[in-house]
C-alpha cells in the first residue's frame, strides 16, 4: 500500500477537494486508504464448507443454505466467460477469502451508536454520513433545500457485512423495508423466497452463480403498493480486507405503484494485488411502479502500470413485471481495473419503459466492457440507451449491448446512442451492439460515433485562460452531459468531479 492519504476529508468539502485534486499531480485515487481494523476471515478458498460457514455466520434458515449449495454445485461445472474484450491474468478462485468481517461486528451492534468508531470514521472519511440527522453533503445550496427532500438513508457494507443502516425506523413508518439482505432473509423470508433469484437465476452466468453460493450481504428494499419512498436510499460498498472478494447481493422490489430512487457507491483501498468483486443486483418492478437506480462505481482502478485494482464482474438486471413499470439505470464507471457489467431491463409489462445512461471512463491500464440489454417482450414498450465511453492512457473501453424486440412486443421503440471519446493514440474504444428485431411495428434506431477531443474546443478553452486539464475536464463533462443530468443531484456533483479526476494526467 502507498502512503495513507491524510488529505482525505469528509465529503463536506468534497467539491473544493475534487477541484484541488484535479490540479494536483500524483495522488489520484483519494479513497485508497486502508482502515486498520481487526478482521475475522473464513479460511481461504472456496469449498462447500465455506458456503455452509457463510450461511451459518448469517444465521440463515435451511432453505437458504440449500439454495446456496445448489448454486455452488452448478458453479463448479461452469467455465469463466472469455468473450468480453478484457484481458487479465487467470483468477485463482482458491486464493481468495470469501468472508471477512470486522471483529467488532461479531456481536451485532444494536444501533449505530454501538458501531465500532473506527468503522464510523472510515465512512466519515469517505464522505458517507452514518448519522441520521446529516444530509449527504457535497451539494452546494443543499442546506437551503427542504430537509425532507434531501434525506438519504444509507446501508453501509464493509467487506462481507453490513455495519449499519440509517433511517430504518422512519422508513418503516412509511411501510418501506430497507435493511441488509442477511437480515431480510431472517425477518422477511416470504418476500426473499418469492423474489430472490427470480430476476437473475442461480443458473444465469458464471459470476452470478458464484455470487449465489457465496454472497454475504447487501441491501434489501421493499416498497409496498402505492408508496413513494420518502427519501433516497443508498448503499455504500467498501472493500477493506486484503485478498478478499466482495460478493454482495441487492434485491429491490417496487410493488404496484411504488416509487424509489436508489444510489450505490463503491470504493476500495489501494493494493498491489487485484481483488474480485462479483455482485448481483435484482430489481423487481410491478405495475405502475418505478425504480431509479444510480451507481457511482469508483473501485480502486489499479496504478499506472496496471498493478492491483478491482475486478468488477457484476450482473444487474431489472424486471418490469407489470404494465407501465419503469426503470432507469444510471451509471458512472470510473474505477475498477477490469469491468464486466451489463445492467439490463426486461420489459415484460405492456407500456413498460427502460432507460440506461452510462459514462464509462477508463484511464491508464483500465479495461471496461460494459453496456446494457433491453429485452422488449410487452407491447408499446420503450427503451433508451445513452452510453458515453471515454478512453485515455492505454485503456480499453467497450460498449456491448443488446436490443431485442420479440414478436409480440408490438409498437415498441428503442433509441440507442453510443459515443466514444479517445484521448491519446494508445487507447481503444469499441462498440459491440446486438440488434434483434422480430416484428415490424417496432422501431429501433442505433447510432454510434467515435472521435477524439476536438482540438478547436480545446484551443477555445485554453485561449480563455483555462489550463489544459481543466479544459479537458470541461469538454468531457460536456460530452457526458446527457448522462450526468440523469443522476440524482447528490451524485451528479460527485460524478462531474470524478470525471475530472479520472482523466488527470491524460493530456500531453
Amino acid at each position: 500500500m502507498t502512503k495513507p492519504l491524510d488529505r482525505v476529508q469528509a465529503k463536506d468539502g468534497v467539491d473544493q477537494d475534487t477541484v484541488d485534486a484535479v490540479q494536483m499531480v500524483g495522488e489520484k485515487y483519494k479513497y485508497g486508504f486502508e482502515t486498520e481494523i481487526a478482521t475475522d476471515f473464513a479460511p481461504k478458498g472456496l469449498t462447500e464448507d465455506i458456503v455452509r460457514l457463510i450461511s451459518a455466520k448469517n444465521e440463515e434458515p435451511e432453505w437458504m443454505l440449500d439454495w446456496r449449495l445448489a448454486a455452488f454445485a452448478r458453479w463448479q461445472k461452469l467455465e469463466e466467460p472469455d468473450w468480453a474484450m478484457v484481458d487479465y491474468p487467470k483468477i485463482d478462485f482458491q486464493d481468495i477469502y470469501y468472508y471477512a468481517r470486522p471483529k467488532s461486528m461479531a456481536d451485532k451492534p444494536k444501533s449505530l451508536n454501538d458501531v465500532d468508531p473506527k468503522l464510523l470514521a472510515t465512512y466519515k472519511k469517505l464522505g458517507i454520513p452514518l448519522k441520521e440527522q446529516e444530509i449527504l453533503a457535497g451539494v452546494k445550496g443543499a442546506e437551503a433545500a427542504p430537509a425532507e427532500g434531501r434525506k438519504v438513508a444509507v446501508d453501509a457494507v464493509f467487506d462481507s457485512v453490513s455495519v449499519g443502516t440509517t433511517f430504518q425506523e422512519e422508513l418503516a413508518r412509511a411501510g418501506v423495508i430497507f435493511c441488509p439482505i442477511s437480515e431480510a432473509i431472517r425477518n422477511h423470508p416470504d418476500l426473499v423466497k418469492k423474489y430472490l433469484g427470480s430476476v437473475v437465476p442461480p443458473s444465469d452466468n458464471f459470476y452470478a452463480t458464484l455470487n449465489c453460493a457465496v454472497f454475504s450481504d447487501g441491501s434489501f428494499v421493499y416498497i409496498p403498493p402505492g408508496v413513494r419512498c420518502p427519501m433516497e436510499l443508498s448503499t455504500y460498498f467498501r472493500i477493506n480486507a486484503e485478498n478478499t472478494g466482495q460478493f454482495e447481493r441487492t434485491l429491490i422490489i417496487a410493488d404496484e405503484g411504488a416509487h424509489v430512487s436508489y444510489l450505490e457507491g463503491c470504493t476500495a483501498p489501494k493494493r498491489d494485488t487485484a481483488q474480485l468483486h462479483a455482485a448481483v443486483v435484482e430489481l423487481v418492478i410491478m405495475k405502475d411502479a418505478e425504480i431509479k437506480y444510480s451507481t457511482v462505481q469508483n473501485w480502486y482502478p489499479g496504478d499506472e502500470e496496471g498493478k492491483g485494482g478491482i475486478y468488477n464482474f457484476v450482473t444487474k438486471r431489472a424486471d418490469c413485471r407489470g404494465d407501465r413499470a419503469k426503470v432507469m439505470w444510471t451509471q458512472v464507471e470510473t474505477g475498477s481495473a477490469v469491468t464486466w457489467k451489463y445492467p439490463s431491463c426486461i420489459l415484460r409489462g405492456d407500456d413498460s419503459q427502460g432507460e440506461f445512461y452510462s459514462i464509462a471512463i477508463t484511464n491508464n491500464m483500465q479495461q471496461a466492457d460494459t453496456g446494457t440489454k433491453m429485452v422488449h417482450l410487452g407491447k408499446n414498450t420503450k427503451s433508451r440507451i445513452v452510453s458515453k465511453g471515454i478512453s485515455a492512457g492505454v485503456a480499453q473501453n467497450t460498449y456491448r449491448g443488446l436490443v431485442s424486440m420479440h414478436p409480440r412486443a408490438k409498437n415498441s421503440r428503442n433509441y440507442t446512442q453510443c459515443d466514444s471519446l479517445l484521448i491519446g493514440d494508445k487507447c481503444g474504444a469499441h462498440t459491440v451492439p446486438y440488434i434483434e428485431v422480430k416484428n415490424n411495428s417496432s422501431r429501433v434506431e442505433h447510432e454510434a460515433t467515435t472521435s477524439k477531443v476536438d482540438d478547436e474546443q480545446l484551443f477555445y478553452c485554453r485561449s480563455r485562460g483555462m489550463d489544459e486539464e481543466a479544459a479537458l475536464a470541461l469538454i468531457v463533462n460536456g460530452f457526458a452531459k446527457e448522462v450526468l443530468q440523469a443522476l440524482p443531484m447528490e451524485f451528479a456533483m460527485e460524478a462531474q468531479a470524478l470525471v475530472a479526476i479520472s482523466l488527470e494526467g491524460s493530456v500531453g
Partner: protein, 434 residues
C-alpha cells in the same frame, strides 16, 4: 459442453467433412496451398451454431456433406448485364465452360482457369493463391474459406496490368438440382491497373465461393454482382481483399431470393490514402420459400488517411430474415481514418426479422468513425403523402421500397449497370407487392 469440447467437436467435424470430399490433386504449388488449407481447417474446425459469428445464421446447410436440392429456375429472358459490352466467362454448375465463354485474351489481362493453371508447376498466382484467405482468420476464423481452398478445382486467376476496357463478367448458370460447387477466384491488380468485375447467376444448388482480390498501389477495382434468384439455393461467398496505398475498391451485391446466403467480406486496408466502399441491397419474400440473407463484413484500417463506407439495405417480408454483422477495426496508428457504416432494414410485415451486430473497434484517436442501424416498417406519413397526391397505395408502397433500396444501389458508380439492377429490383418489388 465446455469450450475445449466444443472446439474438439468442430475439429472432428472438419476432419469428417474433408474425408467425405475427394481431395483434388494438381501441380506442386496448388497441392501445397490445398494441404496448408486442410491443416488450417483441422485447427479451427467447421463453424458451429454456438460460434459468435454464426449466432444469427445456422451454418448447417453450408457444412453438410452434400447440397440440399434446389429447383432450377429458367434463366431470365434478359439476364443481368446483358446490354453491357463485356468479356464473358461462363460456369455451368460450377464448372468452367470455355465453349460458352468469350476469348480470354484481352489487352492488359491475363486470365487462366484454376483447373488449367493448377496442373502447371509454376504460375504467377502461386504465392498469392489462398494467401489472403489464410491471413483472414485472425481474430475471427473463416473455416468455410479454408474448406474452399482445400477443395476448389474451379475458378479463374486474373492478373490485370493496366486499364481494362470492358468489364470481365462471370456468369454462373446451373442445370442440376443438386449441384454443389466450390469456386475459387484470384484477382491481382498491378499498380495503377483498373478493372470492373461483374458476377451473376445462381451457380449451383449450393455454392461455396472464395474471391481473393489483391490491389497494388493506385489500382482501382469495381465489383458488381447479383446472386441468382433461385429460391432454394444456398451460398456462402467469401471475399478477401487486400488494399494497398491509394487503391480504390468498390463492391456492390444484390441479393433477391435464395434459401440461405452468407456474404462475407474481409477487407484489409494496408496502405495509406485508400478508399473502400462495400454495399448491398437484399430483398426477400419468405412466401417463395425460406429467405435468409446475411452480410458479414470485417474491415480493417491499417493505413493513414483512408476512407471506408459500408451501406447495407434489406427489404423483408413473410418470414424473411436479414442479418448484418459489420465491423470496422482501426489499428493503432491508422490515423485520419474516416469509417462509416450503415445497416437498415425495412420490414413489410410482422413475421420477418432483422438481426444486426454493427461493431467498431478503434485503437487510434484521430479518427471519425460512425455507424447507424435502423429497423422499422414503411413510414406511414410518407405513404399518406403519396396517397394524398393521388398515387395508388400499392404503387406508393413500391415507390417507398425502391427508394429505400436506392441508397445502396447508388453506391454503384457505373450508370448503365446501376440502371440495369434498379429495373430488375423494380420488377421484383412489383411482382411481390400485395
Amino acid at each position: 459442453m465446455s469450450r475445449a469440447q466444443a472446439l474438439k467437436a468442430k475439429q472432428t467435424a472438419a476432419v469428417a467433412r474433408i474425408d467425405v470430399a475427394n481431395l483434388p490433386t494438381g501441380g506442386a504449388w496448388l497441392n501445397g496451398a490445398r494441404k496448408a488449407a486442410v491443416s488450417r481447417l483441422q485447427q479451427m474446425g467447421l463453424p458451429a451454431r454456438r460460434d459468435e459469428y454464426w449466432g444469427f445464421t445456422r451454418p448447417d446447410l453450408l457444412v453438410a456433406p452434400a447440397a440440399q436440392a434446389a429447383p432450377v429456375l429458367p434463366v431470365e429472358a434478359v439476364p443481368p448485364f446483358d446490354a453491357i459490352e463485356r468479356l464473358k466467362i461462363v460456369f455451368v454448375d460450377g464448372v468452367l465452360d470455355l465453349e460458352a465463354s468469350d476469348d480470354l485474351s484481352a489487352e492488359n489481362l491475363e486470365i487462366s482457369s484454376l483447373a488449367e493453371a493448377g496442373r502447371r508447376d509454376i504460375h504467377w498466382a502461386q504465392d498469392l493463391y489462398g494467401a489472403l484467405e489464410a491471413a483472414a482468420h485472425d481474430p475471427v476464423a473463416r473455416p468455410l474459406g479454408a474448406l474452399n481452398t482445400a477443395l476448389a478445382t474451379e475458378g479463374v486467376l486474373i492478373r490485370v496490368t493496366g486499364k481494362v476496357s470492358r468489364p470481365v463478367s462471370l456468369c454462373y448458370l446451373r442445370r442440376e438440382a443438386e449441384s454443389d460447387a466450390v469456386l475459387h477466384h484470384l484477382i491481382r491488380l498491378e499498380a495503377g491497373a483498373e478493372m470492373t468485375l461483374l458476377e451473376n447467376g445462381p451457380a449451383a444448388a449450393r455454392l461455396n465461393k472464395v474471391t481473393e482480390v489483391d490491389l497494388a498501389a493506385g489500382a482501382s477495382f469495381h465489383h458488381v454482382r447479383t446472386q441468382g434468384r433461385d429460391h432454394g439455393r444456398q451460398a456462402v461467398a467469401l471475399l478477401f481483399a487486400r488494399i494497398a496505398e491509394k487503391a480504390r475498391f468498390k463492391s456492390f451485391t444484390l441479393t433477391v431470393n435464395g434459401a440461405l446466403t452468407r456474404n462475407e467480406a474481409v477487407i484489409d486496408i494496408t496502405g495509406d490514402d485508400a478508399v473502400v466502399t462495400i454495399a448491398g441491397a437484399a430483398a426477400g419474400d419468405g412466401s417463395d420459400g425460406v429467405f435468409h440473407q446475411d452480410d458479414t463484413i470485417f474491415l480493417t484500417h491499417d493505413g493513414v488517411n483512408c476512407q471506408s463506407r459500408q451501406v447495407f439495405k434489406k427489404v423483408l417480408r413473410n418470414g424473411a430474415t436479414g442479418v448484418f454483422q459489420g465491423k470496422i477495426l482501426v489499428r493503432p496508428g491508422a490515423q485520419k481514418t474516416d469509417g462509416y457504416q450503415l445497416a437498415q432494414a425495412l420490414m413489410l410485415d410482422d413475421d420477418s426479422q432483422f438481426l444486426a451486430k454493427p461493431e467498431l473497434e478503434i485503437h487510434a484517436d484521430d479518427v471519425a468513425c460512425s455507424h447507424g442501424a435502423t429497423v422499422g416498417a414503411i413510414d406511414e406519413e410518407a405513404l399518406f403523402y403519396l396517397v394524398s397526391r393521388g398515387v395508388p397505395r400499392r404503387i406508393a408502397k413500391d415507390m417507398l421500397v425502391l427508394a429505400f433500396l436506392a441508397d445502396a444501389l447508388d453506391e454503384i458508380e457505373d450508370q448503365p449497370i446501376r440502371d440495369d439492377l434498379k429495373s430488375r429490383l423494380q420488377g421484383w418489388v412489383e411482382r411481390h407487392a400485395r
